[in-house]
């Protein structure tokens, strides 16, 4: 991985820097010894590791502001960090950079049921937001499968999604306001607990900016009343084309499922072998469609989806009759990643989005690439919004397979772009897809994005080396590699 060259002059001043930071964040908020820092040496993209210069864990906005002002004065790079679950290396440290961990901003400040929103520190986990309001019948809709670990600050930085985003929108559609600190120490507020911006929609731009524009110190998001009922359907198809057609027809009929997930044959078989959810093994594609809302509506829509599925040639249609059955339908899908981890020593997770209708041809293209590279691939798919997670299977111990897996992965993303899709649907560009950006954007496009970056961070000190291709970057980059099922977050479900 090619990162900006560490600045020796900064490395030489390390002791002074640590001391200065200790003055700003007293107590045990500065971690400078190797053992303590090693926790921070990578994020969810574990193939890449780098010891930071030092880790700072501020507790107050003033401390964040002072740290950033100090770093600007000293020309120090800063890498913001939440829980470190990024799958694209967004929180990968720099040898000459300060990791600014936001884990101590873990308090919920205000629950405002009258305005149906919640204000919290960026270090609060995604699930903790829902936990805080579920007693009153509310929840926070975007649900990345890492939700027990990932922070709302990280969600804002990555514009994270989850199964429910098909119906309820991504982070960006649920965010009302935030407070953030710019690299020069300025504290700004964007939005609040009202809708839309009075001036430029900077809130929208900061969302998904991967920690390159500012450090988020407070977040206000909408909460939604929990729907009274939810049911799921398990639908098997003899061909992936039929499954794709069914997805299109469901969407076009006006039904917006709370979730619509697809698995291909290798993924189905891996899941069934792993946790025996009762998936059919004689189908080429499996759909799980969840509907939520008032009971009457859910029952009606279940009937409509059944009819559409049957008319599109489904070989199996089962609707959940109770909560246990609904959970059982989901169990295999939720275990798809670890299940795939069982059938191959390593897998590499991709995250492209394509126009829904191009699914059959993209699956065919992936199958051809699979032959070309001599590596198997299992596909799981947020089908409703076209977000594909191909899992490339390989063995890192076999000579050349890692490189082949990476080349295969890059070709899949190129294919996504070629059919009118994009490089990343929810995992972010980070360092992983940084050098593929020219596949989608011209030099002019990237130049404009870089100027926007400079508007927030003129010296380019905030999270450098991410998102934008380095001038002399090599073509092939590292990815999400999982060896022997040993992921960095084994306890988290993966969608």
């Amino acid at each position: 991985m090619l990162m900006p060259d560490p600045d020796q002059k900064i490395l030489d001043r390390r002791a002074d820097i640590v001391e200065a930071l200790r003055r700003i964040v007293p107590g045990n908020g500065v971690i400078a010894e190797r053992a303590g820092m090693s926790v921070y040496e990578c994020d969810g993209l574990t193939a890449y590791r780098q010891m930071p210069l030092v880790v700072v864990l501020p507790e107050t906005v003033e401390q964040v502001s002072d740290v950033l002002r100090y770093c600007t004065a000293e020309g120090l790079k800063v890498v913001p960090r939440g829980a470190g679950t990024s799958l694209s290396g967004g929180a990968l440290p720099l040898a000459d950079g300060v990791v600014l961990g936001m884990s101590r901003f873990d308090r919920i400040h205000n629950i405002d049921y009258a305005n149906r929103c919640i204000t919290a520190g960026p270090g609060v986990t995604n699930l903790a937001l829902t936990k805080a309001v579920e007693g009153a019948g509310f929840y926070y809709a975007p649900d990345p499968s890492s939700q027990i670990a990932c922070t709302i600050g990280g969600n804002v930085a990555e514009n994270s999604g989850g199964v429910h985003c098909l119906k309820y929108g991504l982070t960006t559609n649920n965010l009302l306001g935030l407070q953030m600190v710019l690299m020069d120490g300025t504290v700004v507020r964007l939005g609040g607990s009202h809708l839309d911006a009075g001036g430029y929609d900077l809130l929208g731009v900061v969302t998904g900016s991967e920690g390159l524009l500012g450090v988020v110190t407070e977040v206000t998001v909408r909460i939604l009343p929990r729907p009274p009922a939810a049911r799921a359907l398990l639908i098997g198809f003899p061909t992936a084309v039929a499954a794709g057609t069914c997805v299109g027809r469901i969407m076009a009929s006006g039904i917006v499922p709370a979730g619509m997930e697809m698995m291909d044959r290798p993924a189905i078989h891996a899941a069934e072998a792993f946790c025996h959810p009762g998936y059919p093994l004689d189908v080429e594609a499996l759909l799980i469609v969840e509907l939520d809302g008032p009971v009457e509506e859910v029952d009606e829509l279940v009937g409509r989806v059944e009819a559409i599925a049957t008319a599109t040639g489904a070989s199996l249609v089962r609707a959940s009759r109770d909560e246990a059955e609904r959970m059982a339908f989901w169990a295999g899908r939720k275990a798809a990643f670890p299940a795939v981890g069982r059938i191959a020593p390593d897998y590499y997770c991709m995250d492209g989005t394509i126009p829904r209708g191009r699914l059959p041809e993209v699956l065919e293209g992936i199958a051809e690439l699979s032959k070309k590279y001599g590596l198997a691939c299992a596909n799981v798919f947020h089908a409703g919004d076209g977000n594909l997670h191909p899992l490339v299977l390989y063995d890192a111990n076999a000579l050349g397979q890692l490189e082949r897996a990476e080349a295969f992965g890059s070709d899949i993303l190129r294919l996504c772009v070629a059919v009118g899709g994009v490089l990343t649907g929810e995992h972010g560009v980070g360092v992983e897809k940084r050098d593929l950006m020219p596949e989608m954007f011209s030099d002019v496009d990237l130049g404009i994005q870089l100027r926007l970056k400079s508007a927030f961070d003129p010296l380019g000190l905030l999270n450098p080396g991410k998102v934008f291709p380095l001038l002399h970057a090599c073509a092939e980059m590292g990815r999400v590699h999982v060896h022997g099922g040993a992921t960095r977050f084994p306890e988290l479900p993966r969608f």
Partner: protein, 402 residues
């Protein structure tokens, strides 16, 4: 110097025009349908660039639910095309032209998105910002660029689409936009409740919003609005007949139900809520306030006490106030009016107040867009510079000197 009219035939000509303007220090305004020329601070640009050449639907794929159209495509044309496929734009784009007395059905896609418009369905479905998937455009410096893509789930690079939506033509000129479309709901029903006053009406709306019944419109019309003697509170439900019936049964018990309107029956009312027509038609200066819903009634009461003759309606469960105030003499009186309106928003949870209709003198005196605090203003100025380094695109339209 008089404004000169330009109608570039293609993107290259448009880029040339902007490059030249950048080089010679000229300013330019961009006109789609010309319906919103009186929005924002009055500016007299050197060039008026008409986007007529960028009209027309490029593609509409009902199965993908994606529409690609030129910036100057009329909204009326788009709505008709989508309706043929039984689809629509979910954010319920209002036709603001009529608020200035301009002819209806002339607004364009580019203008609608650049102003980040939305109607009553905003609370459930989002605003224009939430439905713009991608765009091709030209910066103030004359650079041809693209942003976003054609798919909903996309985190590749910065979300410049959000920035374009709500930039009022001051950052870049979009030539082609990509929007997501959605199927039309099969039926809609509007429940009309009698409410004693603003506070109890908004309280009812809050209960509906906190229910899992997914209302797609939550408005309150004080007594006297729309020629009605009594205050009315509106709850709109959309979906399949079975679902709407179930939800009507559930929410119908929230208050004193006096009427049920079907989709077509209530459509004109919701359209008028989108444009503020219910208060705008009585004349005067027109404001649009966005604030936390629970602050709506209090803010409106504070304004009513400070400005005799003020009229208001609420949308977005109380979070949107359309406010008409008697036009005061430009100068001290209007500045004081604006200050008391903005103070009311500030005192009731914060948000912003935009002066959408007033004479040019008033718009030149009172900041039509909510003033930003110093840090934010500096940041916004730098963002403007990033897209439009020579300040070609309507400098001063949103904020004086920017």
């Amino acid at each position: 110097m008089a404004t000169t009219l330009h109608t570039p035939a293609n993107v290259a000509e448009l880029a040339d025009l902007l490059r030249q303007a950048s080089a010679t220090g000229q300013t330019a305004s961009v006109t789609g349908g010309g319906t919103k020329a009186a929005l924002g601070r009055p500016v007299v640009p050197d060039l008026d660039i008409h986007l007529d050449a960028f009209a027309g639907v490029v593609s509409f794929e009902p199965e993908e639910m994606v529409l690609v159209a030129g910036a100057a495509t009329r909204m009326a044309r788009i709505e008709a095309l989508l309706a043929e496929a039984n689809q629509m734009l979910a954010f319920e784009p209002p036709d603001w032209a009529t608020m200035w007395g301009a002819p209806a059905r002339r607004a364009t896609l580019g203008g609608t998105v650049a102003c980040n418009l939305s109607g009553s369905r905003r609370i459930k479905a989002g605003a224009a910002r939430d439905h713009l998937l991608g765009l091709d455009g030209v910066t103030g410096a004359g650079e041809v660029f693209k942003a976003g893509g054609r798919v909903v789930k996309n985190v590749t690079g910065y979300d410049l689409c959000k920035l374009f939506a709500g930039s009022f033509g001051t950052l870049a000129v979009a030539t082609r936009l990509v929007l997501r479309t959605v199927p039309r709901p099969e039926v809609a029903e509007t429940l009309v409740f009698a409410s004693a006053d603003d506070a109890s009406g908004i309280d009812l709306l809050g209960q509906a919003a906190a229910s899992p019944m997914e209302p797609s419109g939550l408005a309150h019309l004080p007594a006297g609005i729309g020629g009605m003697r009594l205050a009315r509170t509106l709850v709109r439900l959309e979906g399949t007949p079975v679902s709407v019936a179930a939800r009507v049964a559930s929410l119908g018990r929230l208050g004193k139900l006096i009427q049920r309107l079907d989709g077509p029956g209530a459509a004109p009312l919701w359209a008028d809520l989108g444009t503020g027509a219910l208060v705008a038609e009585g004349g005067g200066d027109l404001w649009r306030l966005s604030l936390p819903p629970s602050g709506g009634a209090g803010a409106a009461a504070q304004i009513a006490a400070a400005i005799p003759g003020a009229r208001h309606v609420f949308d977005w469960a109380g979070g949107l106030i359309w406010l008409a105030v008697p036009a005061a003499a430009p100068g001290y009186a209007t500045v004081m009016q604006a200050a008391s309106i903005r103070a009311a928003v500030g005192d009731h949870g914060g948000g912003h107040a935009t002066l959408v209709r007033a004479s040019a003198e008033v718009r030149g005196t009172v900041a039509p867009f909510a003033p930003e605090d110093a840090g934010l203003a500096l940041l916004a100025a730098r963002v403007k510079q990033a897209f439009d380094p020579s300040a070609v695109l309507e400098p001063g339209r949103m904020v004086a000197g920017r």
